[in-house]
């Protein structure tokens, strides 16, 4: 944790560089032939989605660690990751429909795998945060159990929705991207992953501080 806090300013600097250069790369990228310029939302919609799924995985793993080892740091990481899932999830769920409106003519499509999975995930991790806030004592352990299910849910929902027809560009899009488009995309993904890491460090520090504060209050009572 000490090391992470020391690396933070450098990390923030690198992240800032990535985010500042990003719009230039996006502007320079070729315009997609059928969807037009609105397809460029892709360059930050997909990276935000990447951060969301990353957060869900981190929360799930931290939950497992907390449930079995009861290490406080694992708990701090879990709740921080869940909060980031909800935050980045909002970005995905706003930018997605804005893109969809132009590209497909509708704001939402339930049978689209990624939209529905993200929505379910967002709801799940929002529920996680509600549990932690209103569950009372012991809610960190209950939340850990729930977080594990939340992480496992991602591939399961994906599976079930993908049995339906889908309008969303298939996963092969990323692999078959021409290099002029792949460049900005991976730049964007890197930017968001860096941001995710930086935010995690800050958020975990906040959580550790809160725990220390509670312990200090208890000690004050004695």
């Amino acid at each position: 944790m000490r090391l992470a806090t020391r690396l933070l300013p450098l990390l923030l600097l690198v992240t800032a560089v990535f985010f500042i250069r990003a719009p230039f790369l996006i502007k320079a990228a070729p315009i997609e032939s059928t969807m037009g310029v609105v397809q460029k939302i892709f360059y930050f919609h997909v990276p935000a989605a990447a951060a969301t799924f990353l957060g869900a995985t981190v929360c799930g793993i931290a939950s497992i660690l907390f449930l079995w080892r009861r290490r406080p740091m694992a708990d701090h990481v879990a709740v921080s990751a869940a909060e980031l899932v909800v935050t980045f999830g909002v970005i995905v769920l706003i930018t997605g429909p804005l893109w969809a409106r132009k590209a497909w003519g509708i704001w939402w499509e339930w049978r689209d795998v990624r939209l529905t999975t993200t929505f379910v995930m967002w709801t799940t991790f929002a529920a996680y945060l509600l549990l932690r806030r209103f569950g009372g004592p012991g809610s960190n352990i209950m939340a850990a159990a729930f977080g594990l299910f939340g992480m496992a849910l991602v591939p399961i929902v994906y599976q079930s929705v993908s049995y339906w027809n889908t309008l969303h560009p298939k996963a092969t899009v990323v692999r078959t991207l021409p290099p002029e488009m792949a460049g900005p995309l991976w730049w964007g993904i890197t930017a968001f992953v860096l941001l995710f890491t930086a935010l995690m460090i800050v958020r975990v520090r906040l959580e550790a501080g809160r725990a220390a504060l509670e312990d200090a209050y208890v000690e004050l009572e004695d």
């Binding site: 059928t34 609105v38 930018t95």
Partner: protein
């Protein structure tokens, strides 16, 4: 080199295709793109702002309580 729109659309399901010529669309795309971009920034900045505020408050409280403990 000029594919029909439907062929291109089918192709776009499989992979994005860079345009060779731009045709004008019915719904203005640029406002959507810029609002999406703006939304990203607004949300991120809001979150960072709230996070920073919570952090300074907790660290201040921690300093206060530690001082009170030391004074006893």
């Amino acid at each position: 080199m000029s594919n029909s729109k439907t062929e291109l659309q089918a192709q776009a399901q499989e992979g994005f295709v860079p345009a060779t010529s731009i045709t004008t669309e019915s719904l203005p795309a640029t406002p959507l793109l810029y609002s999406a971009y703006g939304a990203v920034w607004v949300i991120l900045i809001l979150y960072v702002f709230v996070l920073a505020r919570r952090l300074t408050r907790v660290e201040r409280d921690l300093r206060d309580v530690s001082a009170r403990i030391a004074k006893r």
